[in-house]
């Protein structure tokens, strides 16, 4: 009996322990994640508008629109990147003005001349429509923040540029360089600034920073011996050109011919 009593005491303690344990574990126990529901809500006009947000945006929007709709020049014909096998009027225009305007900076800074300019067909994001040309037009054609850069390339890499253009079969914007695609799909009669390509010469090639870093598989730019960032956005090149001229003149000269 005495033995049992002693045991009772132990059991009582055990019960208290169990109780405390269960209370303790209850309070420490995290919530159980019981159910998850996932869905996607489209943001449409059905959601309605928020007056305070609308009112907050308005002055920003008005300022931008006023600036973007500022007429800078006139374009007598629509320039489209989809009209031309090896060159397009809009592509040639972009490459020409990047070479010309980039050279103003490059010459002043480095006392050298840009020899040629290569951009990418995919980088032209809109057409240049007939009619008034505004700042908005420049933003639509060049929405990205790409800078104009100049890479010093050996003559060997100029061959790579020609091979790249032939392989990609796209009218890549090109200025300062001409060549003929031979029947065997190789480049011949490569001319830079009107002179035959000299494989031992260093050429200064303008492009954008995206391509200079190997974008669109333009790997030849990695072989450059020098790189100059002109800190001049391509879009600003375009805006400055539009501000300078009254009427946009699309270049018609042929840069790449097929044999």
């Amino acid at each position: 009996m005495a033995k049992l009593k002693k045991y009772n005491g132990f059991l009582k303690l055990f019960v208290i322990f169990l109780t405390l344990f269960s209370i303790f574990s209850c309070s420490q126990k995290n919530y159980n994640l019981n159910k998850i529901e996932g869905k996607q809500l489209p943001v449409t006009e059905n959601a309605g508008e928020t007056a305070t947000i609308e009112a907050f945006i308005k002055p920003y929007r008005d300022h931008i629109n006023q600036d973007l709709d500022n007429v800078l020049a006139y374009c007598p014909e629509t320039l489209d990147k989809s009209t031309g096998k090896w060159q397009t009027s809009i592509g040639s225009l972009l490459a020409d003005i990047c070479l010309q305007r980039g050279n103003l900076v490059f010459k002043a800074r480095e006392k050298k001349d840009i020899d040629l300019c290569l951009l990418n067909h995919g980088g032209i994001r809109a057409i240049l429509p007939k009619g008034n040309v505004t700042t908005r037009t420049a933003f639509e054609i060049m929405p990205f923040e790409n800078n104009l850069v100049v890479i010093a390339l050996k003559g060997e890499q100029i061959l790579d540029i020609a091979a790249y253009i032939i392989k990609e079969k796209k009218p890549q914007p090109l200025s300062g360089m001409t060549f003929t695609i031979a029947k065997d799909n190789t480049a011949k009669n490569i001319m830079v600034q009107g002179k035959p390509l000299d494989l031992n010469k260093t050429y200064y090639v303008a492009t954008n920073d995206y391509l200079a870093n190997g974008g669109d598989s333009m790997t030849f730019f990695a072989k450059g011996t020098e790189k100059f960032d002109l800190n001049y956005k391509l879009r600003n090149v375009l805006i400055d050109y539009f501000k300078e001229v009254d009427t946009v003149v699309a270049p018609k000269n042929v840069r790449i011919t097929e044999e």
Partner: protein, 303 residues
Amino acid sequence: MKRREFIEKTAASTALLSLGLSLSSFGTNDIKHLTILHTNDVHSHIDPFPADDPRNPNKGGVSRRAALIESIRKENPNLLLLDAGDIFQGTPYFNYYGGELEFKLMSMMKYDASTIGNHDFDNGLDGLYAQLPHATFDFINSNYDFKNTVMDGHVKPYKIFNKNGIKVGVFGVGIELQGLVDKKLYLETVYNNPVEIAQDMTKLLKQEQKCDLVICLSHLGYKYKDDPEKISDLKFAEQTQDIDLIIGGHTHTFLDKPTVVKNKAGKDVLVNQVGCYGINLGRIDFYFDKDKAHTNQGTTIVV
């Protein structure tokens, strides 16, 4: 004889006690409901797309998104509003104001946190830093080391939100910057392996801090078909554990519904992404209880 009787009695009273406790503290009224709303890759799309847009006519718009969020807040105020990065770049609003308006509007909508996408570096670290005063929400990223940059101390590796008794741990992972972002924009920012960082984060948030829910804001991208070796949300989900939800971005992926992936421990993890440009708002509802009977039943996922 008596001894057995006592033990039986004790057992009964213990059972009664625990039953009583269950009824009081594990009652059915103790259900917690947490709503997560999320966006990604809004890319400065403040105005809705015009009605004549060939791809997304009349879709999106911050003013409408704000209205939608507000209506959901009314339905359940226990809510977290999150973004998975690439707030910047895509419309003239960014070109003209450098992200000021984007941050101000997100603050007005009461965003709780955002991670950092590659395009958020587009005006350089200085450009991002300059806009920080306009954001009332936190920037969370765990795998970029900003120690030697102007952003040092302005990006949290994680944050724990206490939402009506539910502890929510949020951390963030960003994409490899080299080759994607110009070095002159990200400067001395160091990219660390997101899977390794996630191990530290989940250990801290789930095991040490005992978070009820762990969310990862990711700008790794959903999946890379042409580069299966590249880390993506789907791979990240498989290689980690103790994450309940991965909110993704970068690849502008439109999903019909959130993807359920088995993680390293064989448990389900939800991966979601809602396209881009503020066209959609993601909504994930979590229901918690303290009913012991549910402890080992797992979680019902309705997607």
